[in-house]
């Protein structure tokens, strides 16, 4: 059944494109792009099978080869970029925008509405008043004075 293959291919492609658009980690974006390629390749192979010729397979072989080369370059780039900025976040690389446009920065995360913890100050009695003591304290005190 051709349509089954095509549905799986479309799902792969859709997942890949959603991943590419929503994730900002460069490696994950790269993986998503690969997933889109796999979706397309699956389509080609399915059509090749359906029509009974090998055009689609030839295409797929090509796609795999190119994808391999691309992976080498892309990963090398990712490594180089990571060394520059110490992060894999793709939104750190906006330098090719129009010179007078402001950079788009993340809004700081909304803080939860929790009251800040109050520091526990030691409680002090007013000066000149004998502090109340418990029984054990009194006994200890007496023993030490008798000794």
């Amino acid at each position: 059944m051709l349509s089954n293959y095509l549905i799986v291919g479309a799902i792969l492609f859709a997942l890949g494109s959603v991943g590419f658009l929503t994730r900002r980690n460069m490696i994950v974006m790269f993986l998503s792009a690969e997933m889109m390629l796999q979706g397309v390749s699956l389509n080609l192979v399915a059509f090749s099978n359906a029509w009974g010729n090998c055009h689609g397979q030839v295409f797929t072989i090509y796609v795999l080869t190119v994808a391999a080369a691309e992976a080498a370059i892309a990963l090398a780039l990712v490594v180089a970029l990571y060394r520059r900025r110490g992060s894999l976040d793709v939104s750190l690389w906006q330098d090719l925008r129009e010179p007078d446009q402001p950079a788009i920065v993340d809004r700081p995360e909304e803080s939860a509405d929790v009251p800040a913890p109050q520091p526990a100050w030691p409680k002090l009695v007013p000066a000149g008043v004998e502090p109340e003591r418990s029984k054990e304290e009194m006994e200890e005190l007496e023993e030490s004075t008798h000794a």
Binding site: L21, R24, S91, W93, Q94, L96, R97, E98, Q101, I104
Partner: protein
């Protein structure tokens, strides 16, 4: 020298000054410096000698097109750079180059020490090139090109001292006023092309008979150009202001040669004009009006150069009077006056320049007086010129003026036209009287009476150097004698100019009455001037008080400048101001809006998209791709 050689190489006459101009402009500031006059003087003198030979030989050859270089050839339209030589051309060539040489020599003394010494001679050479080219041109387009070139030279030389606001303004005024006339000239040339299908003089003249109805309009349009260039009413206002230029320029361009280009043009096209009596009458009427008007203005001016300028305007009007009479002999008379006028008016201007040179730039006749002892040569040569201009019997101006008056008296065909010509004859006679009067008013005020030297003169209030006085002497000989040469036989001149197109077989009228009358009028004018200004008298002041409003009208030049300011200048400026506002806010506003819209969209919509966030790009790609697929799917 063989005539054929002269004919074949006639292009040398304009080429020599052109080369001189280029050489002076290139080498003047660095190499030639105070020797910048050399190329110009050399070229002018060589051209003059060549022209004299040409004049001597000119009756022997058949007029026709010469020295042809192809220039514009588009489809059936051809306008070659080609020259034609006939008796009219050679006569004017001699006038231009000969007077030009003398004035250039005079300028060596007059312009000495000026910062723009080389610039002056470069421009004057360029002018000589343009003027000889104008005279030699053999088709309407070429004459128009040279016509504009002399206009350019005139502009450059009026504004020679461009640091002075008055000179810059005068140059601009001359240029703009000339544009009005030249527009008419350009339209006339186009009309000729539309009517005749060719611009070549000879072809057009040969076909003129078959297009008589169109000729009136063509001639009137061409005459517009002449009105502008020759400073005729109502476009005469630029010439008096043009006196802001150096005096040799006033003599060469604004008295002797360029301003007579209009007269030459009308004479050149006389085969056309003679077939259009209405146009002829217009020419004569405008000429007569201008002659009288300018003479009336000249009566009360106090600037010597301005008096001479108005007298030039007046004499140009006289020439047009002659050209408008409608007979071939009258055209010859007009050219005769051009020729004599060039000599005595150049002489008068150079004399005025000599006075100005010695008096430290002061030229107001009220501040000068009794200079005949300090500057005897200038005084007597100026006197010769003044007498010739006034038309004192037997001097050159007398003969030519008389020839015009005689033709005027015989003009018309018995109907209304004759009446008009009679009125013009009266106006011309009055003008002759006024001319004699104002010329000698200036002469007596400057050279007669008690000696008055302005303090600006300093210690150099003496006769000018020989390089300036010699041209004066040569010119005064011509002013006295040229009339004899040409008029002894005026008939001789008639048969000589008969070799030009349209003037063959002209027959000069003769009238002793007119001759006596014009002589008496001239002498009366001189006598009146002597009676009022030649001896101590309070008569001028009393007279000015008595007819105060007329006096002021004349002194304010009939308020032409004010009238033009109010009727033409002010509305034009207002219109231009409105145009400026519309241009700034409506036209430019639209353009700016068009430019601002993409910028706005880019800045506010497209730029924020370039966020640099890789996931945003991926999302946009995904969404758009999905959208595209959905749309293409729905499309099917």
């Amino acid at each position: 020298m063989p005539e054929q050689w002269l004919l074949d190489n006639v292009w040398l006459i304009p080429a020599l000054p052109l080369v001189a101009s280029a050489v002076t402009a290139a080498l003047g500031p660095k190499v030639l410096r105070e020797r910048s006059h050399l190329p110009c003087v050399l070229a002018a003198c060589l051209a003059a000698v060549y022209s004299l030979f040409l004049l001597a030989a000119s009756t022997k050859f058949v007029p026709g097109e010469l020295s042809r270089f192809s220039w514009i050839e588009v489809g059936g339209f051809t306008a070659p750079i080609s020259f034609r030589v006939d008796s009219l051309t050679s006569l004017l060539l001699v006038m231009v180059t000969f007077v030009g040489s003398l004035i250039v020599i005079y300028s060596i003394g007059y312009m000495r020490g000026d910062r723009g010494y080389w610039r002056f001679f470069a421009a004057v050479s360029l002018f000589l090139f343009s003027m000889t080219g104008l005279v030699l041109a053999s088709n309407f387009l070429l004459i128009y090109v040279f016509w504009e070139l002399v206009g350019l030279c005139s502009y450059l030389l009026i504004g020679f001292w461009y640091e002075r606001p008055a000179a810059a303004a005068a140059a601009k005024k001359a240029f703009l006023v000339n544009r009005i006339g030249d527009l008419g000239f350009a339209l006339g040339v186009l009309m000729v092309w539309v009517t005749f299908g060719t611009l070549d003089f000879d072809t057009v003249f040969a076909k003129a008979d078959s297009h008589v109805p169109e000729l009136t309009l063509i001639c009137l349009l061409l005459f517009c150009g002449a009105v502008g260039k020759s400073a005729q009413f109502p476009l005469h206002v630029w010439l008096p202001d043009a006196m802001e230029g150096p005096t040799p320029v006033s003599a060469l361009i604004h008295a002797a040669t360029m301003v007579t280009a209009g007269v030459y043009m009308v004479a050149r096209f006389s085969p056309l004009f003679l077939l259009a009596p209405a146009a002829q009458l217009t020419v004569a009427t405008i000429g007569g009006t201008t002659a009288l008007l300018a003479a009336l203005i000249a009566l009360t001016q106090t600037d010597l150069k301005r008096i001479l300028a108005y007298s030039t305007v007046s004499q140009l009007g006289y020439m047009f009077l002659g050209l408008g009479c409608g007979s071939k002999a009258a055209v010859v008379a007009g050219i005769f006056h051009v020729f004599t006028h060039a000599f005595f008016k150049a002489l008068l201007f150079l004399g005025a320049g000599s006075v100005k040179h010695a008096m430290g730039g002061v030229i107001d006749i009220n501040k000068l007086g009794g200079l005949r002892k300090r500057m005897p040569i200038t005084c007597w040569t100026f006197g010769c010129g003044a007498a010739a201009l006034a038309g004192v019997p037997l001097l050159s101006g007398f003969w030519s003026k008389d020839a015009i008056l005689v033709e005027l008296a015989h003009a018309g065909d018995g109907g209304v036209r004759t009446m008009v010509y009679r009125v013009l004859l009266v106006a011309a006679t009055i003008t002759a009287l006024l001319t004699a009067f104002y010329t000698f008013r200036a002469f007596f005020k400057v050279f007669w009476g008690d000696e008055r030297v302005p303090h600006e003169a300093g210690d150099h209030a003496h006769e000018s150097p020989p390089v300036m006085t010699w041209p004066l002497i040569v010119l005064s000989i011509f002013a006295l004698g040229i009339g004899w040469i040409l008029a002894a036989g005026f008939h001789g001149l008639n048969s000589f100019l008969g070799h030009s197109p349209g003037l063959a077989g002209s027959h000069a009228e003769h009238s002793t009455t007119i001759m006596v009358m014009s002589g008496v009028v001239a002498l009366a004018g001189v006598g009146l001037a002597w009676w009022m200004y030649g001896r101590p008298s309070s008569l001028p002041e009393t007279l000015a008080m008595r007819i105060r409003s007329a006096y002021e009208l004349s002194r304010d030049k009939f308020r032409f400048d004010e009238i033009y300011n109010a009727t033409v200048l002010r509305p034009t400026l207002m219109f231009s101001e409105i145009s400026r506002v519309v241009d700034n806010w409506v036209v430019d506003g639209l353009v700016r809006l068009t430019a601002a819209t993409p910028a706005f969209i880019g800045r506010n919509l497209l730029r924020p998209l370039q966020s640099g966030l890789i996931q945003f790009y991926a999302l946009a790609t995904m969404v758009l791709l999905t959208g595209l697929i959905v749309v293409s799917w729905l499309w099917e």
